[in-house]
């Protein structure tokens, strides 16, 4: 079996589980929406400050939501020694990592596809034509988050209090993604141009590439240890 078909197979398994149980996607979606509400109440923004504040709020809402998903990511594998069975099967460990990352990415994209338009409505933004660029930036940030998040989720798999430990370990490492995505989102909302934020975009892209590569190479040790 090629790497690609292995990834698809593993991804299908996770999607099937999610379709039957629907625990991650629904909770993530509601939590994301809830955070938007809470942020809006707590900051009570004047209309002229919306552009400065909202990208950070939206991105943080996605990060918290994503962390919720990550904490559940290896839940199915932990039950009934499924992980051992998976490790015994002749699958590439890199494929396992890619499939888990893709699954988490898919969940987050689905959530974002609903929450971003909702954000436009709740905060009375008018520039609907900027939506595609905004999605693109969010996607780049989300890839970075999912790649490193999957790795950290696997590392904390066997720890006590893993749901608490995961964000503690993950968020400091995520600083480049957090800063870069927020800066790019601001640029999109201001002008729809990427001109001034090209370095940030490059940083975001290199973060994605570096940790995706590192993840595929290192996952063998991550999951066995």
């Amino acid at each position: 079996m090629t790497l690609c078909s292995q990834v698809c197979l593993l991804l299908w398994k996770d999607l099937l589980l999610e379709l039957r149980r629907r625990d991650s996607l629904l909770t993530m979606f509601f939590f994301g929406t809830l955070l938007l509400f809470v942020f809006h109440f707590s900051f009570d923004l004047a209309p002229d400050r919306i552009m400065d504040m909202t990208p950070a709020m939206l991105w943080l809402a996605f990060l918290f939501t994503g962390t919720l998903g990550l904490a559940q990511l290896f839940h199915a594998e932990r039950e009934n020694h499924c992980l051992d069975a998976l490790l015994l099967s002749p699958l590439d460990r890199g494929a396992f990592f890619l499939a888990k990352t893709a699954f988490n990415l898919l969940l987050m994209i689905l959530v974002e596809l609903v929450v971003i338009p909702l954000f436009w409505i709740l905060f009375n933004l008018t520039a609907w034509n900027l939506l595609p660029q905004f999605f693109l930036v969010t996607l780049l940030g989300t890839i970075g988050f999912c790649v490193l998040g999957t790795l950290m989720s696997a590392i904390t798999l066997r720890a006590r209090a893993r749901e608490l430990l995961l964000p503690l370990v993950l968020f400091p490492l995520m600083i480049p993604v957090i800063l870069a995505t927020i800066r790019c989102m601001e640029a999109v909302l201001r002008s729809g141009q990427f001109g001034d934020v090209a370095p940030w975009l490059r940083l975001l892209a290199s973060f994605d590439v570096i940790f995706l590569t590192a993840g595929v190479l290192i996952f063998d040790w991550v999951i066995e240890s």
């Binding site: 490193l148 590392i155 904390t156 893993r162 503690l168 968020f171 400091p172």
Partner: protein, 235 residues
């Protein structure tokens, strides 16, 4: 408990003594011999501790990276003990750097803390490696803890340049380097006794660092031995 051989113990003692002498000499030079700074006055003397502390912290994190890589490659307990020891001392020295820095910042900038790039970067390093120590303590199985920590040690180190870049683009206010400057050689720019004091401090801190590291490493070894003996006695 398996005693360490006598020569090793003696060598360690001598090393510790040397570290003590060098740190004391560094303090003498930096507090008494070196002149106060032309603009900042006496508070600038913190620099003689501040620079060596952060240097030691970075050295530690590099050692964590090396130890982690070696552990994943060869699976030898000693590499893991090295990484663990280095991480703990690294966290200690990063915290010291931040404390010294904020005392200096209070008198020079007028605030304990400011969101300047270098300060933020140091604080993030502290958070990353505190997380590393927490991860170790929360995994029961020692071998698994070592493996997971090694992966984090490598990822964390790979992430430092990216964090560095992002935080610098974000903002910077820290005073520019006054010793390593492109336009002037160090000795034209800084009083020579200041440089001597700094150099002695550096040497003292590096000696102290390796002394602490060897002690901490030995603690790790002893813990392993205790565990092995308990296991052998069936406790």
């Amino acid at each position: 408990m398996a005693e360490q051989p006598q020569p090793v113990k003696r060598r360690k003692g001598i090393f510790g003594g040397l570290a003590l002498v060098a740190v004391a000499a560094g303090l003498y030079w930096s507090l008494i011999v070196a002149p106060p700074d032309a603009y900042q006055g006496d508070v600038q003397r913190i620099m003689y501790l501040h620079l060596p502390s952060i240097l030691i912290a970075y050295l530690s994190y590099f050692l964590v990276f090396v130890g982690s890589g070696l552990y994943l490659w060869k699976r030898e307990k000693r590499d893991d003990l090295l990484a663990h020891a280095a991480a703990e001392i690294g966290v200690l020295f990063t915290a010291l750097t931040i404390i010294e820095g904020s005392i200096w910042g209070r008198t020079t900038w007028g605030v304990w803390w400011t969101w300047d790039a270098r300060l933020t970067l140091t604080a993030i390093l502290l958070l990353i490696y505190a997380g590393y120590l927490m991860l170790r303590s929360l995994i029961e199985d020692q071998q698994r803890a070592a493996g997971a920590a090694a992966v984090l040690g490598i990822i964390g180190f790979l992430d430092i340049p990216l964090i560095h870049m992002s935080v610098y683009w974000w903002r910077t206010l820290h005073q520019p380097p006054s010793i390593l400057r492109p336009d002037k050689a160090p000795w034209e720019n800084v009083h020579p006794t200041m440089l001597t004091a700094l150099a002695i401090s550096f040497v003292g801190f590096v000696l102290l660092y390796f002394y602490l590291l060897s002690l901490r490493y030995r603690v790790g070894e002893m813990r392993e031995e205790i565990k092995a003996r308990r296991l052998a006695r069936g406790e």
